[in-house]
């Protein structure tokens, strides 16, 4: 069990079907150097240029809402590619969708892989405002593992992501060989965001990561 290769892919089609190639296929795009994930307002469309107009998410006047669209900002093409099935039915085209984001492992692990969120690329802390500022339940990012089944509801709740304090197991046991793991994710916006500084709104350091072990 050498260190497995871990490829991250997102489904940019409207078809809720499994990935067939760890390097990407007609539905899934492999994330490569320079790519990033970003949530935008419904006015943003797949195919829009990254250098063009961007439509940021809108903070609700009261209570909370779900960000409308998740995009892969594709560095190589210079375009936004919408992860169409991301989020719940409260988002643009999400819902009870299973094959949305994927981590492909080339081999076995010593423990269950987890999806986590951290303040930055040290993968050590989760104290920033978007991750709940010490209260994991208040994290603005929620995810649900769909490796073994769809969420079961078009308005799935999901688990807040905040370091190891609140995370999702991407499978029910350790990996014994190569495997695709899947999850769906969403971004919650609350009216309290209006009181944040712009630096907290535009936090570019946040990192989603796959936590695993090998021997």
């Amino acid at each position: 069990m050498s260190r497995p290769t871990v490829n991250i892919l997102v489904n940019v089609s409207a078809s809720d079907i499994a990935c067939t190639n760890p390097a990407g296929d007609s539905n899934f795009i492999l994330l490569t150097s320079g790519d990033y994930l970003v949530w935008r307002d419904s006015q943003q469309s797949g195919g829009d240029l990254l250098s063009g107009v961007s439509y940021p998410v809108i903070i609700p006047e009261s209570s909370s809402s779900e960000a409308s669209k998740l995009f892969l900002a594709d560095y190589s093409s210079g375009e936004y590619e919408q992860v169409i099935l991301a989020g719940t039915s409260l988002a643009n085209a999400g819902g009870d969708k299973r094959y949305v984001c994927s981590a492909w492992f080339s081999g076995a692990t010593s423990s269950i892989p987890y999806l986590e969120a951290y303040d930055d690329n040290t993968h050590a802390t989760w104290a920033s405002k978007p991750l709940g500022e010490g209260v994991p339940a208040n994290s603005l990012f929620k995810a649900i593992s769909t490796t073994n089944a769809a969420p079961g509801s078009a308005t799935w709740e999901g688990t807040p992501l905040a370091g190891t304090a609140s995370r999702i197991a991407l499978d029910s046991g350790v990996l014994t060989g190569a495997k695709y793991l899947y999850w769906n994710m969403k971004h919650i916006l609350t009216s309290s965001l209006s009181a944040w500084s712009s630096a907290d709104w535009f936090n570019n350091d946040l990192v989603f990561s796959i936590h695993f072990t090998y021997a």
């Binding site: 991250i8 994330l31 269950i112 695993f212």
Partner: protein, 140 residues
């Protein structure tokens, strides 16, 4: 240094690969029964901040385990090593002991089955249990 040294039943020594590489070698080795696990590494003394060599020793355990804890950013193809886990299982007490080497050294002393962040770990290899149980780190 940075390699696991296994003392096997009968006194034979088996040395694995550098744990910092992509292939530490633990999962591939089928060593028979392990009498003792040793691991030497460099670390800073928390008081003097001087770098010293430390020797980790696990002995007398029913079973042994080792794994590397790692994290892979979704948007960056680099994998960050977060820690090296060295564990021993004491069945009669239903517990797992050992150490995690990160930026600091953490001691593990917990109930069997929840040794890794509340979860069980896989990859255990048989030991030779005896009454002289050792789990210790000493500065050389």
């Amino acid at each position: 240094m940075w390699k696991i040294k296994l003392t096997l039943e009968g006194g034979m020594i088996h040395t694995l690969n550098d744990v910092r590489t992509d292939s530490p070698g633990w999962s591939e080795c089928s060593p028979g029964k392990i009498e003792q696990l040793n691991f030497s590494f460099l670390g800073k003394d928390p008081n003097t901040l001087k770098e010293s060599q430390y020797d980790l020793c696990l002995s007398g355990m029913d079973e042994y385990n080792f794994f590397v804890e790692a994290s892979r950013s979704l948007l960056n193809n680099s994998i960050r090593i977060l820690g090296f886990w060295f564990l021993g299982k004491i069945l009669k007490e239903n517990k797992v002991v050992g150490f995690v080497i990160k930026d600091r050294v953490f001691e593990i002393n917990t109930i069997n089955g929840i040794e890794y962040s509340g979860c069980a770990s896989s990859g255990w290899k048989p030991g030779i249990p005896n009454s002289k149980i050792i789990f210790d780190i000493a500065r050389r």
